[in-house]
Symmetry: C2
Subunit: 388 residues, 2 copies
């Protein structure tokens, strides 16, 4: 699919971002506004300690309609009890007042440290007058929701007569079990909320749900799709295809910007007995610290591929039919390591995008998981995240 | 339990180690010999790509009797097909000839790089005359089986009139699903093979099976218990207690010497609905990269504890009853972060042994998992393991 060279919003959507004092100087507050009520669907983290904004969001999304999304970074408002939930409601009310709508039309997100109370007064005063800053540049909003991301993340593409725009953040605590961290998707196509929900789940299943930076599932994961209908109806298949393509691309962007990452790692498993097992083995590969460090060091220690396949104890593995490739170079045949050109495999592992492919020879199902290498940068960033 | 100040063998067991040319100068070949046939039990990796020595070992241990164990380091003889299995058999035959017994009484282990053929001639000539070097110092054998270990690992203790000696190696690719990497246990107590097997499985269940350095399950894990009967019968309960105590201590020694590790991390979960869930949540904590880096940096980012509990999607978590402690300092009560003395928690996290305790308030079951922090040293070691 062709993405626009410069990301843009569908007509009717705009955004703003500000510093409201949660961070020293960087943007820490973002607002995404539709000029009319938009049909909406959302999926949230499966973590059993969801943040207050997720608890509120599940309530809000039942209405199937949103006017705006308000997001702060630095503090995630998780593990904050009844005060946290009250603060999330105050944040929705403040955004509703600024946008001239009701709190039930506002989706709230917070991202950052767990277990710290949200300085709600700063957020409330930050929101006052913020609609005056609204712009049609998605990167402005994307910048306002960053935490350890190294760059703002926004994409847009056409789907028939409509436009779809993805804005996301996330680089650590990422093995979403629905959709990673924060991803907001805007379109002017006309769909009702149940259809949006169905399409969003289908796309997330093969994209965000196959992403893992570090096996750790955030307490704040939120993925929202808002459709204002301005472009009229679009065939569902056309829209679904574009939606999935953009979600996959955003998944790769998030994986490549994983904390400390220097490589995008894609692990594809073919020949599995069913999709569940293909996904399981692909996730085992992408999550293995020894695979991740092998990619980091461009060290052709490809026996580790078999280790990571074989530790899926309950998967159907035909050890004598298992083959593996590194960026197209076959390194394993029939469960044993092949003699291969080490310099070529070393060079393949040193490229920015590394594709590991495994064929299990057991069936016809396949799946791809997305991740990154494990570096000293990851350790450094996460050994002092709270204190820094 | 009191371990001996200096580890020693039970009467009738001795060992030797040599350099046979697999490594430049360090010891790479070890032999553990009983002066008579000893009843024996063993458990092996559940990885679906077991090494040739594991395949052969499963066949050998069916006899329930061993005279010797021969081990090489540097090359694991995994993913080496029919040649690998033939080489493992040649290694058993060479050790049998040296020890004056049959190949069916020799347990073979190999540890090191996956997917490289064993230079079997070097091993065969290394074994010739090796019984002349036999000594009663367990550390000599422990030194011969090291890979990335920073020190040789041996323990001994009394169990009634008998002695038990543990010799182990292992520091990476460790989340055993039976017993970690290589651990050899010798005793002069008299038990038959089925009883040894039952006792070994019980002890491994709470010790080696709760150890994880990096979530990666080795293709070579082997844990063997040999009993020569010289000390006569010992009550099973007495022996089981001592066996478990030593396996737990060895588990802690292996965890603390995890690749790059600077801390021993113990995660205890209480109040779980059953043992399966207690083990699941304890493993989730000990394996979380964000918990491991928090410990590494002594960063009191304790919200991550709730994240790692909550990502056990299928466990019974009472979010309003979940409490957590760091080395005795309570940091979470009723699922929310408590105000706590940050300096004290920072100091607690900076100690060599860090205990994280979580109470789920859902039932009476408990479990402890053993691991270590995640450091730049781990990344460095594993980004060039094959090449170095």
């Amino acid at each position: 699919m062709d993405f626009h060279g410069q990301p843009r919003f569908p007509p009717g959507f705009r955004c703003a971002s500000r510093n409201c004092g949660l961070k020293p100087v960087e943007k820490d507050l973002a607002l995404f506004v539709s000029d009319r009520d938009a049909a909406a669907a959302a999926i949230f983290t499966r973590n059993q300690f969801p943040g207050a904004p997720v608890l509120l969001g599940r309530e809000t999304i039942r209405g199937g309609s949103l006017r705006a999304i308000v997001v702060n970074s630095k503090v995630s408002n998780v593990a904050t009890g009844a005060i946290g939930l009250a603060n999330a409601r105050r944040m929705a009310a403040a955004a509703a007042a600024e946008c001239g709508t009701e709190a039930s039309r506002i989706l709230v997100s917070s991202t950052g440290v767990i277990g710290v109370h949200l300085p709600i007064e700063k957020v409330e005063s930050g929101l006052r007058g913020m609609t005056a800053d609204l712009t049609d540049d998605p990167l402005v909003g994307a910048r306002g929701i960053m935490t350890t991301d190294t760059h703002p993340k926004a994409l847009s593409a056409s789907a028939g007569p409509a436009t779809i725009t993805w804005i996301a953040k996330g680089s650590g605590m990422i093995e979403p079990n629905m959709a990673t961290m924060l991803c907001y998707i805007f379109t002017d196509a006309a769909f009702d909320a149940p259809t949006l929900d169905r399409m969003l789940r289908r796309s997330a299943h093969v994209s965000f749900n196959m992403l893992s930076v570090d096996t750790d599932t955030s307490t704040s994961d939120t993925c929202v799709l808002m459709a204002n209908g301005a472009a009229g109806p679009v065939p569902e298949a056309t829209f679904q295809e574009a939606l999935t393509a953009g979600c996959l691309r955003m998944t790769e962007i998030l994986a490549r910007d994983g904390e400390g990452a220097e490589h995008l790692l894609r692990c594809t498993v073919r020949g599995a007995i069913d999709e569940r097992e293909a996904r399981l083995v692909a996730k085992s590969l992408v999550n293995s610290p020894l695979i991740k460090t092998m990619v980091h060091g461009a060290d052709p220690n490809v026996g580790r591929i078999l280790m990571a396949v074989g530790k899926c104890f309950d998967a159907t593995i035909r050890t004598d039919a298992t083959d593996a490739w590194v960026n197209g170079h076959q390194v394993v045949r029939g469960g044993a390591r092949l003699p291969f050109d080490e310099a070529a495999v070393r060079a393949a592992l040193a490229t920015e995008v590394v594709d590991l492919e495994v064929s299990l020879g057991a069936g016809d199902a396949s799946a791809t998981a997305y991740g990154c290498d494990l570096t000293k940068g990851y350790v450094e960033e996460n050994a002092a995240y709270y204190s820094s």
